[in-house]
């Protein structure tokens, strides 16, 4: 019974979902920005990949790490150990 309630909650709260796990901001932005750029007729795959990677990681670094806005990490939250230590400059 409890499991059913939990799934409902998940569906209600998040948009990007992968199985029972949420995609979180970085992966969500990566996919969405790629799609938007494709719709806005960016043809080159290289440009698409580089821009959406840059955008998702860049906004994450700027807003979450530097400016302290807590962005939802979703499935990437398990890599939280990367937040500390020498992994990021910030």
């Amino acid at each position: 019974m409890a499991a059913v309630v939990d799934i409902n909650l998940d569906i209600r709260v998040t948009r990007f979902q992968f199985g029972r796990e949420r995609l979180g901001f970085v992966i969500g932005t990566l996919i969405a920005s790629g799609l938007i750029l494709r719709i806005l007729s960016v043809k080159s795959w290289r440009v698409l990949v580089i821009t959406s990677l840059g955008l998702s990681i860049g906004t994450y670094l700027l807003f979450d790490r530097l400016l302290g806005i807590d962005l939802p990490m979703g499935m990437l939250a398990r890599f939280h150990f990367m937040k500390s230590g020498l992994f990021w400059i910030f």
């Binding site: 998040t14 901001f25 806005l40 960016v42 821009t51 955008l55 400016l67 806005i69 962005l71």
Partner: protein
């Protein structure tokens, strides 16, 4: 003057200098780039300022506003594309001058004219603002109600487009402003049982939708014109002959811009149009206007810069935002727990004077920034618009989310974005909506307070002299279109008779 020197102490701290430079730089960039105006940019940067000191935050946001006025002229002159709305008039003569190979003189005169106007306006601000603030301290709720009503009327009347559409948007804004819990009685209004709406719509969320998303949608439709006109930028400095022709225009533009900027609903856009019209009327050679008259560049550029600075006066002294960008700075102050109004000068003197001092410094920085970097700004225009569009969309999403860490707000923001897009398509100005939304709760609170104090008797508003005068002016503004039409009618009948 001791106040101002303490303000310089605040503004000259390394962090605040950096903020002013950053604001000026971002402002120039978005002034150059068409498709992202100052209100949208300030809204986008609000989440960036959450963790900043309030003074630093306002210094940066103010820098964006007046920086955009500098940057806007560059693309108007070189490409005939106004980077932001206040530079539309600059296209008329500036682009013609560039075509005649005098781009350098046009850019030079607009940068130096802007600098002069900005400085004059800051000087005016630091002289006038304390007097207005101390006068406004006498205001009770009835006076405040009338003042806010007048401000709202002016904002509608002076907004671009038809007055009826402006009024409709203001009414809609007032309506949106009532969503949530009634500030006096605590009743819930228009929440439809949605608990997320109990706090009402957040201004940041609405502004990001109306200005950020909507602007992106509108601009994506427009075909990209990136026909960069190759011209030598030799001789950036105008000749002595140019100066003799236009120094008076710069001075007139500065003063005109200053006074129009103080009016609620006034500001950079109208002041540039009016000063162009004035220059054309009093010029000895009006036929040159539209064919590359240097006065037609100097005066509006000076005016829009002066107005962008002086429009801080009603915000910082009365707590009434006069245009959309200032409304965003109002929101920024609220986020930091500072209530703009007559008390601001007493409660936060270091903030007030720090911001004023940073404007002096910022104007100086912009002069240094603008002229040597013109080549860089022009190159930046080659970046296709959709990259900017995607960045704006995602910053809007982060911004809306960050207000309350709620996905609900992202949905609200997107809904307002689509609404804003449809409004623009129908020629409805977005500025009155956001202004009414901000002023609505203030208006309501002062109305309720005055009615409680008078025991429900509305004649209070007419019995108090200041309030009565303000209401009379509001009524006059409201009826201006009627006077105008009557006057026109009488003149045409007289002409027919004679």
């Amino acid at each position: 003057m001791t106040n101002l020197s303490s303000g310089f102490g605040v503004a000259l701290s390394p962090l605040n200098l950096l903020c002013a430079a950053l604001g000026a730089l971002i402002g120039t960039a978005i002034g150059v780039l068409p498709g992202l105006g100052p209100p949208a940019t300030v809204a986008l940067l609000l989440p960036v300022t959450y963790k900043m000191e309030p003074a630093s935050a306002i210094i940066m946001l103010a820098g964006i506003f007046y920086g955009a006025m500098y940057g806007g002229s560059t693309t108007s002159i070189l490409l005939n594309i106004p980077g932001e709305a206040a530079s539309v008039v600059t296209c008329l003569d500036g682009y013609k001058m560039a075509r005649q190979g005098r781009a350098g003189a046009a850019l030079g005169v607009s940068a130096i004219g802007s600098f002069f106007a900005g400085t004059i306006s800051v000087l005016g601000l630091s002289l006038v603002a304390p007097a207005i603030a101390s006068f406004a301290l006498k205001f009770g709720p009835p006076e405040y109600f009338s003042l806010v009503l007048l401000g709202l009327m002016m904002a509608v009347y002076l907004s671009e487009g038809s007055i009826v559409k402006g009024l409709a948007m203001a009414a809609l804004g007032l309506l949106f402003g009532t969503v949530g819990i009634d500030p006096v009685h605590g009743a819930t209004r228009f929440t439809f049982g949605v608990s997320r709406l109990l706090d009402g719509f957040d201004f940041v969320v609405v502004a990001m939708g109306l200005f950020g998303i909507a602007e992106v949608l509108v601009n994506l439709e427009a075909p990209e014109i990136r026909d960069i006109f190759k011209t030598s930028l030799q001789g950036l400095l105008p000749t002595r002959k140019d100066w003799r022709r236009c120094w008076a225009s710069v001075a007139r533009g500065s003063f005109l811009g200053f006074f129009i900027g103080v009016l609620p609903g006034g500001g950079a856009i109208i002041s540039s149009f009016i000063s162009y019209a004035v220059e054309k009327r009093i010029s000895k050679h009006p036929e040159e206007f539209g064919r590359g008259a240097i006065e037609g560049v100097a005066a509006p550029e000076a005016a829009n810069n002066a107005a962008s600075t002086s429009s801080f006066i009603p915000l910082l002294t009365l707590g009434i935002p006069g245009n959309a960008t200032i409304a965003m700075i109002f929101v920024a102050l609220m986020i930091h727990g500072i209530r703009p109004g007559p008390m601001l000068l007493q409660e936060h003197p270091h903030l007030f004077w720090g911001v004023v001092a940073s404007m002096y410094i910022g104007n100086l920085m912009l002069l240094g920034l603008n002229l040597p970097l013109i080549g860089f700004w022009v190159r930046m225009l080659r970046v296709p618009y959709h990259f900017l569009a995607v960045v704006v969309v995602f910053i809007c999403i982060i911004g809306a989310y960050s207000v309350k860490n709620a996905v609900f707000d992202i949905g609200t923001m997107l809904a307002f974005g689509v609404t804003g897009y449809l409004m623009r398509k129908g020629g409805f100005p977005p500025a009155p909506l956001i202004l009414a939304m901000i002023l609505g709760p203030i208006l309501e609170r002062s109305l309720q307070q005055s009615l409680i104090s008078s025991g429900g008797d509305p004649s209070l508003f007419i019995e108090k002299p200041i309030s009565a005068a303000l209401l009379a002016v509001a009524a006059f503004v409201m009826l201006t279109p009627v006077w105008k039409r009557m006057w026109k009618l009488r003149r045409t009948t007289r002409e027919r008779a004679g």
